[in-house]
Subunit: 345 residues, 4 copies
């Protein structure tokens, strides 16, 4: 199956190129850019030399449709919305990696993204592709909105508690930490090596746009969950997200019971690995892979559940989950092209 | 004034050497080691070549007393307790950097440190030297127990709320992150560069020995505070601690009110810098300095106060605060030798 | 084809596990350890959880032969020699990743490794598996000695000049830089994160054991090359080797001529990528891949050729080249399981 | 003595602020910027909060002269030249940190900097302030041109050999490695954390503008030295330069003789530390300090001398040496404000 990539020069785009290179069914036969048409991808990413020597083309939905059946759309929020519509109108299957179609309440989009939202009716048929949980929805989707990186880690970490309606309203605290690739490849003083290295920052305090995305998912399973306190930190490393989740439970539970709940919930979910009780994952243990690893505990003194979930933000948090979604959507095994071990160390 | 350092080969010890090198009153004239007597400190730390060429001596309290008046004791918990007593018995002023004398409830020590505690009566006259808060106590101390690194950041971050009894019982979550120097200089696979670099770990989940130390301090100002949920993470950087504190408040408060409270509380405290409202400190902004920087916010949707406090774990979290304590204790200006700008970047 | 791994717990071993996981022909069906038999590999490397749950067994050549046809031997120099012999005697094909069989002059081994060498006759049939250059030799080998990491980068960087006998005797300077995984997973103070991070070290000045290995290869093509000056530096990163090579040429040459020579020499060599003239590779541009990337220049003022070659020390410098060797040896396409794009960033 | 800083927002400028903060004689009483007049320095560098709350002013030589006696000029090459003249004309002592006045051959400036040079007569009275070597010249200077970072490390590393005319013409290879702060604080994709971290790059191959600066100094002591081969690499760390120097010697020498030569040459030079024979410095061993540390060896097989010199590029390579120059120039002890131990780790 021929697939196209629109928006190739960001870190999410180039990670799609890496993963698709070894996909046994999807063949990436064309890449597109809204501003760099005519340039080679290797001029932006010399590591592709001799291996992926595609020239980026301008985005023209009809031309894309003539060459490919499915598009991975990896352009920024606010830009993605317009291309999405045009690509769908041209008859293409679209997996969108931006935040433009993730929020069901368009006013939330306006508030958190500080941009005009799409019209509500454009959300029809859109499936929020949390691939490890909603496979049936994905199979019947009209369009896939790929989840954000923080929401993927956070929601997978809390899903067993949410689904079983065990969480005290408004009690969730998610202290999230991310590697710097999440900030993208735009030139900025704040993200210079000399500013980030040997440094630890908190950012977007109380205002991160992934907040409503997480709330929306959790409240889907338990409308009593309400609002979350969500803070994000920048870690001096390239890849990886860790979400440390603190939750008040409606009823006391032992660590063993909690662990069993997670083991049971995820027992048939290939890409979520619940660690043995007492073991907690580190981010490098999923580096380069599509895994979400989870460790669970109960603080016996305060009664809070403390859950740790880690992902590679560019794989499970972006390109990997996008391919997993495309696999499911097109009837392939969800793991095609994704059965990669983490690169350690 | 002549001062001695006992326990010179750890990172805390060598940071004391760095800071004392520019102290205008304290003169470090002798260093001691319980296992490396007769060796030069430069053989362990070549960066001292030509500048600090002291030979370490075995620990002999009488000999130390003959040369020095005050001792910085930087040996591990469990070992410090015995030397402390002997050094005090010899007539020396002792600032102890270990955890052996920090917990008033000796059973807490047994539980969290997994070691036998000192006898309760040995705690008499011991002052927990949180130097920015308890200067009067320090002036009258018999012995100074220097606070732990995480407790320093955490307690300074929460002090204005605790002192004013604003915190809902058992509600505090402290998500703490530390650079790797906090783990010391012992050879271990877990702390190899290849294991830590590009990695983010949580460790000692629900069991970190600094938990009761933080609780003890907070409950001193407000016994209703109760227990905390405290988790610690290892960041791939050398120095720096950030404590992100999530607190339920008894009464709603605006961010402006919260900020004013912090500004007022710390207005005469030289080494605590409350940032302007909306600004949050990063760890590198205090690197190499004795500052604790604090940013405050209120999450308007969930009502939680979110406080961020950062320190350099080896300075304010160890050697710097120890010198600040010694300054106060001996009647000097608290800032002698500590008026250093952070090293940035 | 069933393959075994002997020596699984080092970084080279676990990289073999990663790469073999996606090999279409080789099936890794057993792993062995000389000291950790009975333990699971996941207890040493939790990133393998759920994906590679093999238990390590004691090394018993007969039992290995019963299960597998080919062995990757990834144990330290000095230990490898004995197991090699036993494994070969048991009828197994062996690819050895240690330095024990690389030096034709056994006295060189004694001098540089400070260990007793093997007997000279044990070198019969051994092929130094510089896979991109000596494919025919490999096809007919009795035993494959996999090249060292530094020699792979250095020799590939100089091969076109050596083969064409263009190098002035004794003139080569190789200034080599390596990430820290090359130092292995042994606990040591020198390789702690806090010692390596934000630090740059030179080590084994004039005494690195890879010196004679490089000289041996270069002199094979041009016995007039003589001796090299080879220095090694430790870079605060996990993976990657860069060798910067400075060479006096017998006759003046332009940069264009030099570049053409390299392009011609490597035009059919899949895993060596000569960059366009004026472009130089960085180590991350080969991270996780089997590529050796090369940039060339001539310093017009001094006449020296300056060549830059980079590899991932764990892939092309160890596990990847070992698999490439095994592929060639067993008649497979050399790229089976190795057609991976670099992981960037 | 009142001193001013012109060009405060670069990393060199802010390091001057750090070091001057503890200078016992120089008082930094005003800072200036050519584009940011009216803004506070803390808005660019929050780590200065509460400690250095100066407002930057526009550059007006007369106003500067009214407030200060000496200026540290830390603006880019090409801009510095004009301000230098105006500041000198206003009667100020100027220590210039740019490259504008370093090259005696103005055509070299044109060639390597790709900018128009100053007029030759403007170089009159300019002293190239290699502070550890030319103290007498500095005392009588009309103007100080502070050396570049790479030249400082490289020239101090080779001075004993050059001064004694021991070096074979055109034979020197300097393989230099630098932390990333040397690249400044300008926003750029190439210097983003995600591009630099876990990466090692060579840059400006054969074209680095510090090449003629190094040659000029070395040829001053021995005109037979001729040209050098000088390559520069970017290391994923903030601070530090290591220059590894490979030199052909006119006559054979033993390592012991070489070491004695260095010890003798530098025996009264406070800030150059020659390490014991067999010991080599790492960059972190001088971090934050004004030291240049040197290790020496002779490769007995090839006869080359291999010298390793390290500095902190922002201290000895910029701000520290500038202050050292100003100290000497104004008759102070050269070490005033600079007697700082390296910050390790």
């Amino acid at each position: 199956m021929k697939v196209a990539l629109v928006g190739a020069t960001g870190y999410g785009g180039v990670e799609l190129i890496r993963l698709l290179h070894n996909h046994p069914v999807f063949e990436l036969n064309a890449i597109y850019s809204h501003s760099k048409g005519g340039e080679s991808i290797r001029s932006y990413y010399p590591h592709l030399s001799g291996a992926v020597e595609l020239i980026m083309d301008d985005i023209d939905p009809e031309k894309i449709k003539a060459k490919s059946d499915l598009v991975f759309l990896a352009v920024p929020a606010g830009i993605s919305r317009d291309w999405s519509k045009k690509l769908r109108d041209a008859g293409l299957k679209v997996v969108d990696l931006s935040g433009d179609f993730r929020l069901e309440d368009v006013e939330d989009y306006r508030k958190w993204y500080k941009k005009d939202p799409i019209a509500k009716e454009e959300l029809e048929g859109v499936v929020f592709g949390l691939a490890d949980i909603v496979k049936d929805e994905i199979r019947n989707a009209a369009f896939i909105s790929n989840p954000g990186c923080y929401p993927t880690a956070s929601v997978l970490g809390l899903y067993p508690l949410a689904k079983n309606k065990m969480i005290v309203r408004n009690s969730i605290v998610i202290d999230a930490k991310s590697g710097v690739t999440g900030a993208g490849r735009g030139a900025s003083v704040a993200n210079l090596f000399s500013e980030i290295d040997e440094n630890l920052k908190i950012y977007k305090v109380n205002t991160h746009q992934h907040t409503p995305e997480i709330e929306q998912q959790l409240n889907r399973w338990d409308p009593e969950i309400g609002m979350i306190t969500f803070e994000t930190h920048l870690i001096p490393m390239n890849r990886g997200i860790m979400a440390t989740e603190y939750v008040d439970l409606k009823s006391p539970i032992t660590a063993e019971e909690l662990h069993k709940l997670y083991m049971d919930t995820y027992k048939d979910v290939k890409f979520v690995r619940v660690r043995p009780l007492g073991e907690f994952p580190s981010t490098k243990e999923v580096q380069g892979s599509n895994y979400c690893d989870i460790g669970v505990s109960v603080n016996e003194r305060t009664g809070k559940a403390v859950i740790v979930s880690v992902i590679d933000n560019l794989v499970k948090g972006a390109a990997g989950q996008a391919i997993q979604n495309a696999n499911i959507w097109t009837g392939l095994d969800e793991a095609e092209g994704l059965d990669l071990l983490p690169m350690y160390p």
